[in-house]
Symmetry: D2
């Protein structure tokens, strides 16, 4: 670590509404994770939100009585200098862009979602050039730091860093596995600490392969429980559609909530259509929530994370992040599911691709636990999504129209090459200002 007297952590996209969760997490762990400097960085368009959330962060720290300096800045380079950890949670184009990612495909009868399908492709196209820029800064300013990326689509972004930069110290993080583990605990009616799940797959395409209670394999019991009706494995920001119980029995694993986009495409599309008409797309709902949250954050008497934040959907994110940073810093050797380089851990995915898998977390970073391979039945879809991620990352880096069209067409949620072109052209136009590489 660079700083003898404590850690320097930089959060890019610091003006996010999630930031209070992160602050709370850091405060709680202060004893084992002595952060001296926390830099919240944002872009000029986000300055107002940065100031609001930054002020709350300072009040929270002060209230907690920990000697952590919170800095707010629009100057990324200044912030990165000698950082120990950099977390990224930014959103290029803000929620407006997300709304387009949702609305445009939907208009053409295709699922519009932030991390899957056309929306996932476009979020990647906007995000990847920025993250590669950050990584270039890091090479120069904080070459020993770890990059902890939350920015979606986290799998594609992590893949892009591995393949299109020289930076290896990156971990992609997602709250989906934590939620699944919580769900298993709930299904078993036990505390989550007693539950272990063998996670493997890709980001938003991860499976709980085997499940354990106090080390005993209870996969059959869990499958039985969740197919017999009452328990729901869903996450707040995914509509609650029930799985076909016989399919889950046939799978004999726990799919993640996002798998429903692929195994329940029709139902998910119908629900999205309905929701978008009745209450707006997810981006529009979130925008409303965010407005309310920022109103709350402005309250100078508020010096803790407000309860309402939980509705926002990113539950466990900060917990996952703080746990990861803590385990790296303290060389804990515990097991956490993260996005890291495959290195053979999942047989039928490339060794040099990003995968989401259980890892031992050490001071040298995550080391994946080899699972051999995913069951034959799910292998193909996972490989297809990895193909999509790789072609998307190439399109993002090169700004090549044909690569973008290829990515769009091979995505399993897009049912036609002609439609793919229509949606691509419309979205390229709509996101023009955030896609300089395509101009």
């Amino acid at each position: 670590m660079n700083n003898q007297n404590g850690l320097k952590i930089v959060t890019i996209g610091g003006g996010s509404s999630y930031t209070p969760e992160l602050i709370e997490g850091f405060i709680k762990r202060y004893d084992s994770l002595p952060i001296r400097e926390l830099w919240l960085v944002d872009v000029p368009e986000g300055e107002e939100k940065l100031n609001i959330v930054g002020a709350l962060a300072k009040r929270m720290v002060k209230e907690a009585g920990v000697p952590m300096d919170v800095h707010l800045t629009l100057n990324r380079q200044e912030a990165l200098k000698d950082a120990d950890f950099v977390t990224t949670q930014f959103r290029v184009g803000l929620l407006d862009a997300r709304a387009k990612d949702e609305r445009i495909p939907l208009k053409h009868g295709v699922i519009g979602q932030e991390t899957n399908g056309p929306g996932g492709l476009f979020k990647g196209l906007r995000t990847i050039p920025v993250i590669l820029d950050i990584v270039k800064d890091m090479e120069r300013l904080c070459p020993d730091a770890w990059l902890i990326n939350f920015t979606n689509p986290a799998g594609m972004v992590t893949e892009a860093i591995y393949r299109h930069s020289n930076w290896k110290k990156v971990v992609g993080l997602c709250n989906v596995p934590v939620g699944m583990r919580m769900g298993v605990a709930k299904a078993l009616d036990v505390s989550p600490e007693r539950v272990h799940v063998d996670f493997a797959g890709l980001n938003h395409m991860v499976f709980g392969m085997d499940m354990y209670l106090d080390g005993q394999n209870v996969t059959d019991t869990v499958i039985e429980k969740i197919t017999s009706g009452d328990s729901s494995m869903t996450m707040r920001n995914i509509v609650d559609l029930g799985w076909e119980p016989e399919f889950i029995k046939a799978l004999n694993m726990l799919p993640c909530p996002y798998h429903r986009y692929y195994y329940k495409t029709d139902e998910m599309l119908a629900q999205e259509m309905k929701d978008s008409e009745e209450k707006g797309t997810r981006a529009e709902v979130v925008q409303q929530l965010e407005n309310e949250l920022f109103e709350l954050y402005k309250d100078e008497n508020l010096n803790e994370k407000p309860e309402q934040l939980e509705k926002r959907g990113g539950a466990y994110y900060s917990d996952a992040a703080c746990s990861l940073i803590d385990s790296i810093y303290n060389d804990r050797g515990d097991i956490q599911p993260v996005n890291t380089l495959n290195q053979g851990a999942i047989g039928s995915l490339p060794d040099d691709s990003a995968v989401e898998i259980n890892c031992i977390i050490t001071k040298s970073g995550p080391k994946p636990i080899a699972i051999g391979d995913l069951p034959v039945a799910v292998r193909g879809l996972v490989q297809q999504i990895k193909s999509f991620e790789r072609v998307s990352a190439e399109a993002a880096v090169t700004g090549d129209y044909h690569k973008a069209l290829l990515a769009m067409t091979i995505n399993p949620l897009v049912p036609s090459d002609t439609l793919a072109k229509t949606i691509l052209d419309e979205m390229l136009e709509a996101h023009k200002k955030d896609l300089p590489q395509f101009n």
Copy 2:
């Protein structure tokens, strides 16, 4: 070879309307491929057709003046004894079953087709137990023979033999690559002999990776020609839907006609819906054609293959089969695209799976030419179909309901687990008599 005085060839499903093509092919090649005995085998339900087509075969042979004995039998074991080559072109459940494979999914808004989607699964479920039975007979009765399988879904059937029997001397054959090569020749306006195509993929999921004219790589020229409008790469039994030119440019390879089920799902479904209403499903159209053909075949003055057979859709099949048998028998060492064991030839598919790929054809069978790997963009879909084929084959062998449901749900043409179950249950009931393993 077993027979010093010429070859013994057995055709299972000999009562097929295709048989005259095969006979014609054997007659044409008699000099290099001296067949003394040709056994046409069929099941009791097919006896009438066997007798009609068998009589025509005998007239054709007589007219040609070649000393080839044509035998008709319902006794498979008798036929197989000491055979040199066994070709299989049977259809369990006849065209009635195919009509159900097409109608039932379509009723639920899902593509109904003989080799893809729910139809492909069910054709596999009906066919695989029978082919494994044949293979068991062959182990005992003609252990040195080659099995040349035309029966669809040829990829799944070949996979099933590799994985669920000890028989290795099997080649899966399809006319799609021949048709694609013809298409390239037509696009270039040259004779097909001057054209070479690097084929790789799976059955009905094969790509023309690079294309050559007199050995010179002309891929760019061909792509340019086929995307500039007039040329069509389609096969007769697939509706003529135009590809999105920009997608083909992005792909920079030649997809096969069946790829449209995946890359143009919406259009293919709409067309199928329309056709099924206006002129019946493909099985129904074919049934009509077959009836007409068999009327023709009955004509005792007919002693050659009637022209009308070409409309049937299996163009080049017999040519592909005769060429393959000829090249094996004569150790020709020429290149033919067939379904064989991968053995590393395509990087991201299992070594021990069936693939459709260019092979050197020798007396020891086909030896695949390694291509390294398919482009990243198409790899995932191919892997997904291979997953589907493997799970389907397991379902066929075990009669396990959950495996069948798994196969149905993971098929990319089936958009929902719930719908998958509905279709599965309905089709299991409809095909009950041909699926003893599920009872």
Copy 3:
């Protein structure tokens, strides 16, 4: 576990002189590892030693005051019934056989050693049929038990179980990694608990890839220290030959002591020659030590492990075994280097081969941590030894003379096919009574 009231552990080869170490280990861990029954099993030839060491074991347990029942038996089946853990440490043909493994090759100018070269092959040929028999008993008598195998050559034996039986619950155990870690701690002058080593390779062919102190990568420091002279990484039962420092720097990893048979063949051979003349081969030295130990063990006043046992060479063995059993039983999730199924953890070794690698130890057994691949420079030798192990295991199972000759000739310590045949023939004759499969 089968036994609600505590564990049943079976030690096959219970009459070994090592047994008191194991007993001591179990006693120390009694609180977390409540063993109710410990069954020491041996063959009729070992009965006397079994009785001696068994009596000592009982005295040790009594002195410790733990409620562990020690049973002595020649009836393996009786012992295995409902066991929770089975440890194997037997030696087919006893030390006499080992002496032949050492003397015969040496006579022909080839290294004679228990686990490498011709000696390793023959120990495998004698041991593998016995272990496969034990495994068959276990399938029937204690299907839920774990087999913890210490019997050398542990890598080849574990490989044989994976490839030639249906038993998967086996872990191969070796004290070499523990010794290497101790050596690193000594080189750094710190306590071993603070040291972590990334172990990967095969049994007796394992590398310490990266080394850590309190989680910090100190590989360079360790390499510097051990090449600058004074520290020795050797184990007691391998002669202390210094590595060429520049080679270790070039390697930039820690080889294991047994690597010297391959990278210092000349020196090892010369030393063996000298030792065998001056003080006898290792088996002969060990025989003498064992005689002395059993004299001590007979002393009815002895009720603890005598100090002299440490000279025997198997330091840390019992510790490794007890730690492993404890971690499985208690689902500890700690990291231990063991021999387990590769499953992709080491890239250039087969997924379905045994490797020696760091694993997370859970109630479901060891889960290997993927390392990607070994450095190119060492990969080839490791692959060659794996080839040797696999061919040897096949020879052991089939009793095929040609497979045995193949194994002997491809071993890198055997410098000629002709010499291989000479040594093979002589050793087959010498070990005749213990190799029924070759008769």
Copy 4:
């Protein structure tokens, strides 16, 4: 091709004594391979030999009456401009360097040979930087040309081009497979055209896996014949040592003559020792032969290849080269064993490494025929040699002392790290002038 009016071929190391063979080959094939310009290139030290052999070449062409212009030059760039094929057969340091490669290891009791062991390493260290320079020239001057490399160690050199340049149009060529095929034909007493051998492995480490007569697999017959005594599979420049028949039976494949360095190390070393004392090392014998040959070449009346050249040892080289060039130029699609990119053709070798394997030869170059994998028994040695080649190539490119030491020590013919260092240091000094990268 660049030249409408015929081909331009460049031979680097044109002053070699082999050149008349190549000229003869080109003359014989003139009809199908219309070479208009043949450029013989050499370095200043080789000018005299270039002039002698060049004059002979011109006389041979004149005598044959073919319109082929032979150019002699020391200006490589001038020669390479717009070439269609470039063949390389140069020897950095001439035979003097080879003599050192042989003498120095031998002095230390280690095999001294041009392509294996320390000699192979040093020939690689001297050659690779030069070939990479040639390739850089080709990128600029004749980007469409094929590089046909004969320069030994051909496997390592081809590997180095694949891994350390961007040039992909390279084929490594060796006469060993041709000789093996001839040997099989001789053993069967048939003409070589009727024999086919499935070659796979690495250069000078290639196996004849299956052997065919008129397409029929006759492997067992050949193995039987060559182990029953009289037939010898040896090549002229390898001492004639008989294999152990039982080992060849166990292998059930045809090893290449160079395999004896590994499977008969003791005998080969003893023979080398004896020969070097009695008649000089191979380089010294060859030097004498070359002197005699060049005396012959000077004879202005000589206008054909003199018979004495056959003793030189490179039989079939020119034939292999001319056949290869002819098949590429004419897109023949025949099968030839060459060194090319693996691309999965041999399972347990890296996809991106050079292997020696049967390929279809087309205008687009060689396409390897997938064999699945080498038998387990030989896999390890082949992998070890590939490791050695890769580390050697890295040492050659970087001039890194430790990498060179690593390569030397891991070579299976070098029995000790200490000895490796001794030999390395002595050879680095001896070859100093030809190893600028190490200075």
